[in-house]
Amino acid sequence: MKLLKIAWRNLWRNRKRTLITIASVFFGVLWAVALSSLQTGSFDNMVDNMVSFTTGYAQIQNIDYKDNKSLNNGFIPDEELYNFLDNNEFISKYTSRLSTFSLIATGEKSYGTAVIGVNFENEDKISKLSQWIIQGSYSGDDPGGVLLGELLANKLEVNTGDTIILIGQGYHGVQVAGLFAVRGLLKFPISELNRQILYMDIGTAGDFFQVPGTVTSLILMVEKPGTLTALMKSLEQIDNPEFVYLRWEDLQPQLVQLIDGKTSSGKIFIIILFIIIAFGILGTFIMMIAERERELGIMIAIGMNRLWLSLILFLESLLIAATGVFFSFIFCIPLVNYFVRNPIKIGGEMGELYGEMGFEPVLIFSNEIHIFLNPAISIFIISIVIAIYPLISVIRLKAVNALRA
């Protein structure tokens, strides 16, 4: 059938107008893909960073620790639990942590700090902690040494080899105090972590806080975030009423809120963009139909079914959308892939500002398939919706009136 040929040729009767309409689709899809790619890439990276640095993708905790983060609510994992974790197909890595808060002091200065007891070897596999060492050593000969966030060390005016005092509360409120050598300094891209974090060996921490062998959480990682739900389901097999199994979304509700907020504002922007495109295409169609009223009347007069005529106009709408999307993809797929491989690092004051706000100063893009599919599908839906206008016009068109037009 010639319908497609007629539709395609009709588009080029007014070349300039068609090109402008296609350009609006092109730029609309380009912007939508770029924005979505940047958002998805940044959020995935943010989640990955935050999850690795802090909570992991999932955690096993004592049920009381969830609401009361006290060392009293830790637990001692048994061999059976470790075996289960070792053999779970969804867990790529896991480690244990003992987290609490303490006062850190040196000389006349003292500050509050988060103290995280870790298995340095396992921890490095998850949070790649060693990459942030800027001074000293990550796992030196001194198992009792601690690693400090750079800004915390600066505030305390200590360096590697210096000694700090930890004063805190141990099991059942017992007062604990001890001297620890600073083995290394860490500089994370997120300032908040640099300001208030201290890492020490989990065994040392257990002994110091009088909870030997205790952990406050078991941090579980998955290879692909998509398998997290399957992991959570598998954890139910542990069947221990003392335990609670938490996803990262449960552990970091602020991060979820932040992502939801940013995603919503991005969606609103894209919706506005697509509304503008929709009106652009609709305007083109109103003009096209007005110009061709007589011609449409002729086609009906010579015996063309109105449905086929509507199909021609629908194809025109679809072809404009498809051409715009096609050229947009030709341009933006290589572009996005380039930026996926070469993230944009933000330097200078802007980079520092990102760090201050708790974000890694880098613009990371994503090339997940939905980033390309969503704008394309949206544009096609728009073109289908817009095709309602010519459909109604053709149904209402009176051939005899159109012939007089």
């Binding site: 059938m1 010639k2 007629i6 040729r9 009709n10 009767r13 007589r294 011609e295 002729i298 086609m299 009906i300 007069a301 010579i302 015996g303 063309m304 079914n305 109105r306 086929w308 051939a399 005899v400 012939l403």
Partner: protein, 227 residues
Amino acid sequence: MSIIKISNLTKVYDGSANEIVAVNNLNLEFEKGEFAAIVGPSGSGKTTLLNMIGGLDRPTSGEVNIDGQDIWRLSSRKLTDFRLKNIGFVFQSYNLIPVLTAGENTEFIMQLQGKPRNERSRRIKELLEAVGIADREKSRPNKLSGGQQQRVAVARALASKPTFILADEPTANLDSKSTETLLEIMELLNKTEDVTFIFSTHDARVVKKARRVITLVDGKVESDVSK
């Protein structure tokens, strides 16, 4: 044999105080193979009559029977289908589909009828040769003269092998030579294809060629003369 029978046909525009009776209780019959011209002054109802015969403009009252079927009793869809199979149109302003070539314009109506490709190709060649523009098959309407476009319109009208062709002022925009050529072609096709031609016209040359001349005045038949 009568192929078109018009009974008590009336068309009134605008039912208010300013109503215009374009066609007034008209009765006519057309036989197969006729070459008839409907003449009359502007506003006499020629085009309105053709539009009602062609199933384009619904009459206020009366019947248009074609092969025994009152076309205005058909549903909109069936009427469109009826036009496709039975009626060919030639308009004053040619009205070809501008994005299709001469050949494609001729072929289009056969595609709508679902005719096979080889039959279409044969018919295109046959018709374009008959109207004398076989060499312009690949040309789009904007590359053809007015006379050539109207000849393509005639080929298109004949492509569906209609029972009759309605031509509304087909020579109005043509020069003398083109008019002469077109009339000769239509007269020849009227004989070779045995298809009925009904024209509305002001053109004396068309009237001269017509074998039947119907004169309308104020929507009524003033005279109906067969030569």
